[in-house]
């Protein structure tokens, strides 16, 4: 019995010693350990994601044939409609290019798209960060916008070799500019993630709403990206304004909550928009990462 007690005490002592050593170690070692752990757990994350995909595959495979036939019929119709729409968009695109050339208008940034499956939601930060199964080996860079369809999901925070961590639009680390629906003057508002409230679904905050902005009657107004900052293309949906508004601390503006248009919990797949040329913001992030590496060395 005494031996057991001594063994238990020794474990506590060792744990305490380890904790003290961890605290005392330089910050560079901490960061090194974190990076190493991220790379170490990447295969496990891949595996977990693929297992989930497999489970989904078998779940779909077990469906009734008639059901699948009906679904493929619907899909064919939708495809035909989309084909038509695509042709129309192609005409508009050509017209757009022609007009830009005529006006010598500076073209917006070009993006490469990287489609990525969601591997896991980072359990330490709940809805504020997800891990996707594409990383720097696939061309993903920190600072790149992440979207689903025409909706903004977030921004790549860290790009590892085979995985990337994405700060969701509800993360306090997320910030971007937006335009309010039916604001004729197109005044910029600021969208930031708001600190979480327990397990409730995520929210973002919209600040700098002009005092004279009048809500359109009916649906909650949409907030879309401005396309001015060189990161997000214009017109992507960030979410909808909630009704309640408060006057900001300085009394100059109003602020409100933003409800993301997509349930961030149910995300299966996202698209990373990789700007063709790195933006200054990306280079600053790279420099910070380089600085960290220098510290490690």
């Amino acid at each position: 019995m005494d031996k057991h007690r001594q063994g238990a005490t020794a474990s506590y002592v060792v744990l305490a010693l380890c904790a003290v050593v961890w605290v005392v170690l330089p910050a560079a070692v901490h960061r090194f350990a974190q990076e190493a752990f991220a790379e170490f757990q990447a295969p496990a994350l891949h595996l977990a994601g693929k297992a989930r995909d497999l489970a989904r595959f078998w779940e779909l495979k077990s469906r009734d044939k008639e059901e699948i036939l009906a679904a493929s019929r619907d899909l064919a119709r939708a495809n035909a409609a989309l084909e038509l729409q695509l042709r129309r968009y192609e005409d508009i695109r050509k017209e757009n290019v022609r007009l830009r050339e005529m006006l010598r208008y500076n073209p917006p940034p070009e993006y490469l798209t990287v489609v990525a499956r969601v591997a896991v939601r980072d359990s330490s930060t709940w809805w504020q960060r997800i891990v996707i199964r594409k990383g720097s080996d696939d061309g993903v860079r920190a600072g790149c916008p992440v979207i689903f369809s025409d909706r903004v999901i977030g921004k790549v925070a860290v790009a590892h070799h085979t995985t990337s961590e994405v700060d969701l639009i509800t993360s306090p680390n997320f910030r971007c500019t937006g335009f309010l629906e039916s604001d004729e003057q197109n005044r910029i508002v600021l969208i930031t993630g708001a600190p979480g409230r327990g397990l409730a679904s995520g929210r973002s905050r919209v600040t700098a709403i002009p005092q004279d902005y009048v809500y359109p009657v009916g649906n909650a107004p949409k907030v879309t990206t401005t396309g001015l900052g060189g990161v997000y293309p214009a017109g992507l949906i960030l979410g909808h304004l909630e009704g309640g508004q408060r006057t900001t601390q300085d009394g100059n503006f109003r602020e409100s909550s933003l409800t993301p248009t997509r349930d961030l919990f149910s995300l299966q797949e996202v698209t990373v928009l990789v700007p063709k040329y790195p933006t200054p913001g990306e280079i600053l992030l790279e420099d910070q990462a380089q600085k960290r590496l220098d510290e490690l060395r």
Binding site: G143, P172, N173, F174, R175, C176, T177, N186, R187, I188, L190, T192, T207, A208, P210, Q211, T226, L228, G229, G230, V231, Y232, T247, T248, Q249, D250, G251, N252, F253, Y277, P278, T279, P280, G281, E282, I283, L284, L285, D287, Q288
Partner: protein, 700 residues
């Protein structure tokens, strides 16, 4: 009997016992002292100690409110607030980085073997760290992105860079001395990052968006938004609207802002704004709003630590001016087209009033200034530029001029009222009129022959007025001018809300209005009054000095058949149209009809015929008086009047300070400005009730 264990523990020696009791006593006294002391502090001195705590460990930061908006009579915004995004550095969050830099600098100095000056190195470390962050900010916001294809890194500041790219050491020292608790401003306005270049609105928005979208979120550099004054139409009505300036004065009644013992607390304030001229100044009390406050705990080194409580600022109230944006725009545009033979802009002023209410629809003065360039700070270069052109003076209310022939209306009314002449009397008017030893000339060398009242007003006959004026005598002429309020300051305001000022607009020249008489001439050492002075006065020349606004009021009064008009720059839909000191002109209906008919003939066949508006019959009287400009004789071009002629709704006055070589004349030079104002007014008046016709006065 067995003793208790406590008693057993006591020493048996009486001396030892006594010593022990003494120790007990000392302990008891000590504890008692502590307990009494604690009770004293907790129960009796609580208030004082709390106040001391507040004073030492907390501070109030005051946030100036945004100012109220200014609208024209139709609800168009003339002055608004623009969002300003600035970039600030949190010095408390930067402390570790500054400290690391400081240690590195000390190490470098020691390696070099140089004597270490710790204070200087501390300053240098702070400056270099802030400069590093400013370089990164510029790297992101700069329009030209050198990194776009080459991947170049942020470059360090160069000596030939604009001042905005460098952290100013003196500013930083001042900030640390006076406002250490507040963030340090790295870039004042993201929409105007360089003082030398004003970005177009979309460029400004791109700069703001680049920073917000790209700059790393977590860090010591934060984005803050506040409000700056914006004048969307640029220089439109600049003299009326005025401009604002920085103020660090604490708001009045600051201790009553919140239910806190504010008077004990240290107070810091973000720089606020107050009106420096125009409506911004006179209505400052209405426009300025109420400051917000934040109660912070502070660190021992004076930085803000934690926000305890706060209250948002409240925006100031709006002011609705009586101006009509479109008429004002038309007046200013027309004035801006009047140039001399060298292409230089001629100074001038234009006023239009609502005949019935006295509300001012337009009050323009040229040259002017752009209040947007004064909204943040007044640069000496811009001040001198405006000053050199004489652009600070509001000529419509501050400029003092001889009214010239427009005064003949007053001479005629005085003559009619005192029976010197009647409306149908015909006077023989030759090429000149002799008074004493001097011939006073007619402006037409041939003379006008037989002239009655109507013809006099149509052709602006001088001799008719010399004759009537001399027969009247100066006392009666001056009394008539005073009846029409030419010696009375205008734009007085009935409300005491306006900073205790009796005027709606700054009015420094009010005391120098001159309606001359013998006493005036004597008082100023010009000698005794003569008939020649009276002849001069009768045609609005000589010592008489008035403002364009006064002459517009004379026109409005004539249109109503009264003597006084109380003008106002504030729009009040319920204004009753009563005018302070107004009385009927005091002439017969026939005389008044002849007078008005003469003014109409002035437009149809007289001196204002070149600016006739076929679809809008109106009444006017032109004037061309002489004055001395830089020692040389020059002309002042005037026109006053009202429209429509049969049912007057608006009255106007235009003045242009001309020069002899440009042949400046009332009808020819000032007339087109009046015509443009009237055309714009007519276009708006014809629009269906409640509708506004398309405007060509756009935001800039």
């Amino acid at each position: 009997m067995r003793e208790t264990p406590a008693a057993e523990a006591l020493p048996s020696s009486p001396i030892a016992k006594a010593r022990l009791y003494l120790v007990f006593l000392l302990f008891a006294v000590g504890f008692g002292y502590v307990i009494v002391g604690l009770a004293l502090r907790q129960l009796i001195q609580t208030g004082d100690l709390k106040a001391q705590y507040d004073t030492q460990s907390r501070r109030v930061v005051l946030r100036p409110p945004s100012r109220g908006l200014i609208y024209d009579r139709n609800g168009y915004v003339l002055v608004e607030n623009r969002i300003r995004w600035s970039i600030k550095a949190d010095l408390l969050a930067l402390q570790p980085e500054i400290h690391r830099k400081y240690l590195a600098l000390i190490k470098a100095e020691r390696v070099r073997g140089a004597p270490v000056e710790f204070d200087k190195l501390q300053d240098k470390a702070r400056l270099e760290v802030l400069q590093g962050w400013l370089d990164r900010v510029w790297y992101v916001i700069d329009e030209v992105q050198p990194n776009k294809r080459t991947g170049a890194r942020p470059r360090p500041v160069r000596p030939d860079d604009e001042p905005e790219r460098r952290v100013n050491a003196a500013d930083l020292r001042k900030h640390l001395r006076e406002r250490r608790a507040l963030p340090f401003v790295l870039v004042t306005d993201l929409a105007f990052p360089g003082s030398g270049r004003a970005l177009r609105p979309e460029e400004g928005q791109r700069t703001i968006a680049r920073f917000i979208d790209q700059f790393p979120v977590n860090g010591p550099i934060s984005l803050q938004s506040d409000i700056v004054r914006s004048y969307p139409h640029g220089s439109l009505a600049a003299h009326v609207l005025g401009y604002i300036k920085d103020t660090d004065e604490l708001p009045e009644k600051v201790n009553e802002l919140a239910d806190l013992p504010m008077d004990n607390l240290q107070k810091l304030q973000y720089t606020g704004k107050k009106g420096a001229s125009g409506i911004e100044q006179t209505f400052d009390a209405v426009l300025k709003g109420m400051s917000g406050w934040e109660l912070w705990t502070k660190t021992s080194s004076g930085y803000n630590k934690e926000l305890v409580a706060s209250n948002p600022a409240q925006q100031g109230s709006a002011v609705n001016l009586s101006l009509d944006r479109d008429i004002q725009c038309a007046a200013e545009r027309a004035l801006a087209q009047i140039k001399d033979s060298k292409g230089e802009l001629l100074p001038g002023a234009a006023v239009m009033l609502d005949v019935n209410t006295g509300e001012i629809l337009a009050l323009a003065s040229q040259p002017t200034f752009d209040p947007n360039r004064l909204a943040d700070r007044v640069t000496q270069v811009y001040f001198d530029e405006v000053d050199g052109k004489g652009g600070w003076m509001n000529r419509a209310i501050q400029g003092l001029y001889a009214p010239g022939s427009t005064f003949k209306v007053i001479t005629a009314i005085a003559g009619l009222r005192h029976g010197i002449v009647d409306w149908d009397d015909i006077l023989e008017c030759g090429p000149s009129f002799r008074v004493g030893a001097r011939d006073f000339p007619e402006h037409d060398p041939a003379g006008y022959g037989q002239v009655n009242l109507e013809k006099m007003l149509a052709v602006s006959c001088n001799v008719w007025n010399y004759m009537v004026g001399v027969r009247l005598g100066q006392p009666r002429l001056a009394a008539e001018a005073r009846r029409f309020g030419l010696d009375t300051p205008l734009l007085t305001h009935v409300s005491d809300l306006v900073n205790g000022s009796p005027y709606e607009l700054p009015y420094p020249a009010a005391r120098t209005l001159v309606v001359p008489d013998a006493a005036y001439k004597q008082r100023n050492g010009f000698g005794p009054w003569t008939d020649g002075d009276t002849a001069n006065s009768s045609i609005g020349q000589g010592y008489i000095l008035t403002t364009p606004l006064h002459m517009a009021c004379v026109a409005a009064s004539l249109a109503r058949g009264e003597t006084r008009t109380t003008p106002s720059i504030i729009h009040d839909p319920g204004r009753d149209g009563r005018h302070v000191g107004a009385e009927p002109i005091g002439i017969t209906e026939a005389q008044l009809t002849a007078l008005r008919s003469g003014l109409e003939r002035c437009v149809t066949e007289g001196t204002a015929r070149t600016v006739r508006i076929p679809e809008l019959p109106y009444a006017a009287k032109t004037g061309t008086s002489e004055y001395f400009k830089n020692g040389e004789k020059a002309h002042l071009a005037w026109i006053i009047g009202y429209a429509p002629a049969d049912n007057p709704a608006v009255a106007f006055c235009v003045l242009v300070e001309g020069q002899l070589d440009t042949s400046t004349w009332g009808g020819k030079t000032a007339g087109p400005v009046a015509r443009d104002m009237l055309t714009t007014w007519a276009r708006k008046a014809e629009a269906p009730a409640g509708a506004q016709p398309p405007s060509d006065c756009q935001r800039k």
